[in-house]
């Protein structure tokens, strides 16, 4: 009798589980190749992302940049007001960013930077365009076009900065280095990361992502 009852209980439980799993399957079986294609399509690819971002948002977004001469004048007058008016802060850190466009005359050139004077009567370097290896997150965070909350994790967001910097090094800086001769006029769009106002504002150190040389 007890055995019969146990058999009935077991059979009922097995049938119930089978019905449950029919309506709520644990998994679906898909061919490995199809699964691989889906995973590749869904995977985050910083190179492809930056490719789209560069042409779709970054270059068109250059119109939002503040004029370099205007910013330099504003900084000379009142650093705090300039920061509040034109600067951009990300998170809780002390650093802030400027998104800058402008043109200037080349007055100094060295291995890793090109110094520009923004006015004709000026001989001093007012803006320093980075021309060597690019580090940091100036362009990623400086434009305000990218939001960390749109990314799944901080590694993806960091990979984005690395890819933007790599692209600048490979596609932007060679033209700057060859075209930047003393006296030539250089047009640029880029971002400045201000970590220390005493050293980073004068001259203004800019990571350019768009450069036009004669």
């Amino acid at each position: 009798m007890a055995g019969r009852r146990r058999w009935i209980t077991g059979t009922t439980a097995a049938a119930g589980t089978a019905v449950l799993l029919y309506f709520l399957p644990l998994f679906h079986v898909v061919p490995l190749e199809q699964a691989g294609q889906r995973a590749a399509a869904a995977a985050y690819d910083p190179v492809a992302f930056v490719e789209r971002f560069w042409t779709g948002q970054l270059i068109p977004g250059a119109a939002r940049a503040v004029d370099a001469a205007e910013l330099v004048a504003a900084v000379q007058q009142d650093r705090q007001l300039a920061r509040e008016t034109h600067g951009r802060r990300v998170g809780l850190g002390g650093a802030y960013y400027y998104f800058i466009a402008g043109s200037g005359r080349v007055v100094a050139v060295d291995r890793n930077s090109v110094g520009l004077a923004l006015c004709d009567d000026q001989q001093q370097v007012q803006v320093l365009l980075e021309a060597g290896p690019i580090f940091g997150n100036a362009v990623r965070d400086g434009t305000g076009l990218l939001d960390v909350n749109d990314f799944a994790n901080s590694q993806d967001f960091n990979a984005l900065a690395a890819e933007i910097n790599r692209r600048i090094e490979q596609q932007v800086l060679p033209a700057l280095r060859t075209g930047a001769v003393i006296g030539a006029t250089v047009r640029f769009v880029g971002c400045a990361e201000i970590l220390d106002e005493d050293t980073d504002l004068s001259p203004l150190r800019i990571v350019p992502f768009l450069v036009e040389t004669p």
């Binding site: 399957p25 644990l26 998994f27 898909v30 061919p31 490995l32 190749e33």
Partner: protein, 323 residues
């Protein structure tokens, strides 16, 4: 008469402490006694509550489990990994793509299996629970690192995220889940034979053995349930963060033990209740929340929590000496 008063005080110590804390914080902070903050506290304690419910059963049975935080991380990681990446069966050239339901079941089973392993080691090799679960702590942490490669598994989708961030009938899902588990465990401990056996084993293991209770099976069941509940906590954490973090649940075992002890469950086993643990979790939750609202440094919060735990254990010791 005086003894009666003292007994009542000891019996309702957690409730009295919680009431006093709520009253004091209501006076000190304008934002404490609001419905939003109430739900906030309940949502925040839900993970610790799941862990503490399992810990209650284990401590009631005379044991301890130091691996629940690590099991939480492993269960969450397994569920997230299966949901995100599936399992490739290379010889058959197919991949098993897990559904949300499948990932949840896998996460729970992982927790239950780890808990069952704890119980098996403790009963078969007569290892002290402290040592056995410390071993599982390391095993589960290592397995989590191996499974995730040390990186978080993210982007689990809104269906899975509903478990941690969803709201049903105006109540957050983690509160539903932990509330349902509280109900189930109250019934288990008060209305079932298994529940009474847990108290018997924790109260006097030798006597329970001599009366013919299947002590090993009961302990195995208790540790398995503890693992299962840690798995449930892991799913809530993972769903809330939309990410399985390899180092999730660090230090959670201590919080859960604290909640159980503050709730009046005796560390020597056989005495305590699920409702007491709920109060213990609420006390810790209210304490954290209240101190945060009062702008007290998190470092001081830890100090205060430590003193509350010491006070709870001291009261427990004094009351057991008197009885």
């Amino acid at each position: 008469m005086l003894t009666n008063h003292r007994e009542l005080l000891v019996r309702f110590q957690s409730l009295i402490a919680l009431t006093l804390m709520v009253l004091a914080l209501s006076l000190l902070s304008d934002t404490f006694l609001t419905p939003e903050n109430g739900w906030n506290i309940l949502r925040q304690i839900s993970v610790n509550l799941c862990l503490s419910l399992g810990m209650t059963l284990i401590i009631l049975a005379g044991g301890i489990d130091l691996s629940v935080g690590a099991i939480l991380a492993l269960s969450g990681a397994v569920a997230a990994g299966l949901l995100k990446n599936g399992v490739a069966v290379t010889p058959l050239e197919v991949q098993l793509q897990f559904t949300v339901f499948g990932a949840i079941v896998a996460g729970l089973l992982t927790g239950a299996a780890a808990g069952c392993f704890n119980g098996w080691v403790i009963t078969q090799f007569r290892l002290p629970p402290f040592v056995a679960t410390l071993g599982m702590f390391s095993i589960a942490r290592g397995l989590t690192m191996l499974w995730t490669g040390g990186f978080p598994i993210t982007g689990l989708g809104s269906d899975f995220g509903f478990l941690g961030t969803g709201v049903f009938l105006g109540i957050p899902m983690p509160v539903w889940i932990s509330g349902a588990l509280v109900g189930a465990l109250v019934v288990l401990t008060r209305r079932t034979r298994f529940g009474r056996y847990i108290y018997a084993v924790g109260g006097n293991e030798r006597a329970a053995l001599l009366t013919g209770l299947p002590v090993n099976r009961i302990k195995l069941g208790v540790y398995t349930l503890g693992g299962l509940l840690a798995g449930a906590a892991g799913l809530i954490v993972t769903a809330r963060l939309d990410s399985a973090q390899p180092n999730a649940g660090l230090g959670y075992e201590l919080d859960s033990i604290a909640a159980v002890v503050i709730g009046g469950t005796s560390l020597s086993g056989g005495r305590g209740s699920v409702v007491g643990t709920v109060l213990g979790c609420l006390i810790i939750g209210v304490l954290n929340n209240g101190l945060f609202l009062l702008n007290v440094s998190p470092f001081w919060q830890q100090v205060v929590k430590g003193f509350v735990i010491l006070a709870a254990v001291a009261i427990d010791k004094m009351s057991s000496r008197e009885t």
